[in-house]
């Protein structure tokens, strides 16, 4: 299970040192601007922008491709029907089926948007440590209970998945194959056991937290997050540039229509 989305967060590029709050706002706006695009003519620009940003981030291409593989596969599975069912202008025939132009173009549009947005997401979360991004979200208004939940889930995800692997190995060593109804019951017991163990651990964790004062310092909390980040004018300029690019896409889309 490769959870190392911030494996390259230690690099030093303008994107890495950009104030994460501004980066989050800028990137998410641009991502939504991409999703607004409905016209093929804007696609090359989309590819160009995401390509340039990826180049600046100095994240290795292999990183992007590895993360693209599985979701790309699923998208294709979903979208492969489109050329066959959508539209009326027939390009050519494949046996009894006809491949239609509009469907192909629809698929192209979806595919390019998908890849561009994915790339942006990978850059956003790949150029800062995960923890920093969560703190940035808090600074932008994420409720603290959700932030706490995110951090906890992140912390214990590894441990619990290790638990699962250990239990699955133990099951296999005792001959479990899982190909029948009984297998389903066993897997349900496995899932249930993971839930029970996590629940019991959460109880101990809660005790450990209260013993170190969890809940005492709510007053101080807001203040401490603000101290985490210090923005310079170049951070603001970066944001303005991205917002302008996003606006360009939106305006371009509206005008072309």
């Amino acid at each position: 299970m490769k959870l190392q989305l911030d494996r390259y967060a230690y690099l030093e590029t303008p994107l890495h040192s950009w104030d994460p709050r501004y980066k989050l706002v800028g990137f998410m706006t641009l991502i939504f601007a991409f999703s607004f695009v409905d016209n093929l003519q804007l696609l090359p620009f989309m590819v160009a922008v995401s390509g340039v940003l990826y180049a600046v981030s100095q994240l290795p291409l292999s990183f992007l491709l590895a993360r693209m593989r599985l979701p790309g596969f699923f998208l294709l599975m979903m979208g492969v029907l489109l050329p066959f069912i959508s539209g009326s202008t027939v390009l050519f025939h494949l046996g009894p089926l006809s491949v239609k132009q509009e469907g192909c173009l629809d698929l192209l549009l979806i595919a390019v948007k998908f890849v561009s947005i994915l790339t942006m997401g990978i850059i956003l979360f790949g150029t800062s440590p995960f923890l920093t991004n969560v703190k940035a979200m808090c600074a932008l208004g994420l409720p603290s209970i959700l932030a706490d939940m995110i951090l906890f889930t992140y912390r214990y995800l590894y441990d619990i998945s290790d638990n699962l692997k250990t239990m699955q190995t133990a099951m296999r060593l005792r001959g479990f194959q899982g190909h029948n109804i009984k297998g389903l019951v066993t897997l349900a017991s496995l899932a249930g056991t993971i839930l029970v163990r996590s629940y019991e651990q959460s109880d101990r964790v809660y005790k450990a937290m209260t013993l170190r004062g969890y809940g005492q310092a709510d007053v101080n909390r807001g203040g401490q997050h603000e101290e985490e980040f210090e923005a310079y004018s170049r951070d603001l300029w970066g944001l303005i540039i991205l917002l302008l690019v996003a606006a360009a896409f939106v305006v371009g889309q509206i005008l072309i229509r």
Partner: protein, 254 residues
């Protein structure tokens, strides 16, 4: 080994009794006084009630009858009491922040200290436990021994006066175990240490309490209590090897 120079016990348990909803009489009329600076080892078979007593001392559980006082103040269940620190048996239960630094800072932050004070406490605790290099690591990248030291750092960062260690040597390799022994021998705080590792107790503690079925069976010098074979065996324990008189050379040499 500090001598008792103060009038007030660090820990004063008086006629303590406790039951769980599913199990009655887990602790029966326990009386115990621990003085400042003492290092008390708590030994006993599994299920004797050690962890329960710790939870009662920390105010996580509420007593059924009797009272517990820490440094003269009665323990209020549910109240945050940084004077006592508990190092849990399983460090994974205690290391709940995504990185070591944040975890050690957790206690001081909740004490309401300024950001600068929090930072200095974190630095101090990491230095004390010798784990500065792991400050930015996530807990799951650490070994059992390293996690244990982080857990201890997190507790010490609150500057407790009484520290309770629940099975601190479980899952430690010999080098970390030795490191822990050295660390505890240097510590100034009053401590309670529960452990199945009897040799460890011999090296670290200056007083031992044998707990079984919720009662204190014996209380005194470590070598005396643990050297008493009949007593140890009656409570499911073995006499530590180092206390066996080595009059006959039974270790094969050469």
């Amino acid at each position: 080994m500090k001598q008792n120079t103060q009038n007030e016990p660090a820990l004063d348990i008086y006629n303590l009794s406790f039951s769980y909803p599913q199990r009655s009489s887990v602790i029966k009329n326990m009386n115990l006084k621990v003085w400042p600076g003492e290092r008390v080892g708590i030994i006993g078979p599994n299920g004797a009630g050690k962890t329960t007593v710790f939870m009662l001392i920390c105010g996580v559980l509420k007593t059924v009858s009797g009272s517990i006082s820490l440094f003269g103040q009665e323990v209020v269940p549910g109240k945050f009491c940084p004077e006592v620190g508990l190092v849990f048996q399983n460090p994974d239960d205690q290391l709940f922040c995504p990185c070591v630094e944040d975890d050690v800072a957790f206690g001081p932050k909740n004490l309401g200290l300024s950001a600068k004070d929090v930072e200095s406490r974190v630095k101090e605790s990491l230095a004390l436990t010798g784990i500065q290099e792991f400050a930015a690591y996530p807990p799951h990248h650490l070994s059992g021994g390293q996690k244990r030291m982080v857990a201890i750092a997190g507790v010490l960062a609150m500057h407790p006066e009484l520290v309770i260690y629940d099975e601190p040597t479980s899952n430690l390799d010999s080098s970390y175990r030795r490191r822990l022994i050295n660390f505890l021998q240097q510590s100034q705080e009053t401590m309670l240490v529960a452990s199945h590792d009897l040799e460890f107790i011999l090296e670290v503690c200056d007083r031992v309490i044998l707990l079984d079925e919720g009662c204190i069976v014996s209380d005194g010098q470590p070598a005396e209590i643990m050297g008493n074979v009949a007593l140890m065996q009656a409570h499911g324990l073995e006499k530590p090897h180092s206390l066996v008189p080595h009059t006959e050379p039974h270790h094969s040499v050469g």
